[in-house]
Amino acid sequence: MRSANRKDLPELPNEGLTYPDTEYFCKTRPVPVEPHFKAMEQVRNWARANSLSIQAFGTGCGAVELRPLMTARYDAYRYSVTGSATPRQSCVFVIGGYASVKTLKRIIVSYEQMQNPKFVVGLGSCTVNGGMYWDSYNTINRIDHYIPVDLYISGCMPRPEALLAGFIKLKELIKAGKCEGANKYAENFDWYKANQKKVIKNWNMPDYNW
């Protein structure tokens, strides 16, 4: 499916929006991006793997581990991992631990605003199966039912060393061309959207934020 076919797809209903917000947001869906020829894709993946910028959105308690990671002691800049200010400038989204339904809404907005290619790292046990909040009334259990996840770092909390190991693994995966989260999201857009709308009861935002 190529980008040119974007107009052939059915429009998004955007039922959560009211006038005049309906005028401000686009109704088109995301579409998967076709890869270039293999050598070009390898060069691109090498470049992508070596310039990771983390989005500055601490979604849970695990975000506290990102501060020492960036400062002098663990110094993630050595591994070409840096921070960035806004979703649109970043390519790595670290889900820092548990995500409540209220946070999930913001996670989806931020994730959809990030530009391709984008990678998601689930940090901590809570992103895997809910962790110690698995039976809570407002903490989601599996983040990969709402946005595609490339890599999990388990632990409660994982130490900054574990995070560094995770980022090195992420770089390996990107270089191997296995981090196709954005395409996966576009291909299974309806499934992800149905899961998101199942838990977010007051859906008052556009169906696709970008």
Binding site: V199, I200, K201
Partner: protein, 184 residues
């Protein structure tokens, strides 16, 4: 603190005075006199600070117990005022005119327990849960585990162990009998 209770007794229907330790005590008052007592404590007894305001669900007794925790900066005393209200159509007088920040506590109680405070600013707005459509989640008849299993997608393969028997099997694998050990 005991003197304070003796001073209050002729004026209000206070009961069940309990001194927890040196500067912390609790007392109980019926629902209809509670706001008057708290106003009196604030204006005439020096309890100028609302430390917190919360509720406990005593489902066996059919009541919510509201706890107003007041603090006196002069004597450094803390006084908890217990007010029992019925669980059905739980309603309570708002105290946002005494302390403006009480409105936020009341908004939270409305959302988490379903206790209504008519006239409190923004009490019907969403506080933390956005678009909640079940019974309030802090009520004890709300089954949080069943709700989580129904709503979220549990990852299969999770198993949990009872800590006591699990640790006994780990530490004393050869011991016979129940969790307490027993005869070998």
């Amino acid at each position: 603190m005991k003197q304070l209770f003796e001073r209050l007794q002729p004026l209000f229907a206070v009961s069940d005075f309990k001194k927890q330790h040196g500067d912390l005590a609790f007392l109980r008052i019926p629902k209809e006199h509670a706001e008057m007592l708290i106003r009196h404590l604030r204006d005439h007894e020096g309890f100028s600070h609302l430390v917190f305001f919360t509720a406990v669900d005593y489902i066996e007794d059919g009541v919510f117990r509201l706890i107003y925790m007041l603090h006196d900066y002069g004597t450094k005393n803390t006084l908890g005022v217990h007010v029992d209200i019925a669980r059905e159509n739980a309603t309570m007088t708002s105290i946002h005119e005494l302390w403006a920040q009480a409105a936020l506590y009341q908004r939270e109680l409305k959302e988490m327990f379903g206790i209504d405070f008519p006239g409190s600013p923004g009490v019907d707005e969403d506080f933390m849960l956005e678009g909640w459509d079940e019974i309030p989640p802090m009520r004890r008849e709300f089954d949080t585990k069943a709700y989580a299993e129904k709503t979220f997608f549990p990852r299969p393969g999770r198993k949990s162990t009872e800590p006591r028997t699990h640790m006994q099997e780990q530490l004393y694998p050869n011991r016979q009998g129940g969790p307490d050990g027993g005869e070998k």
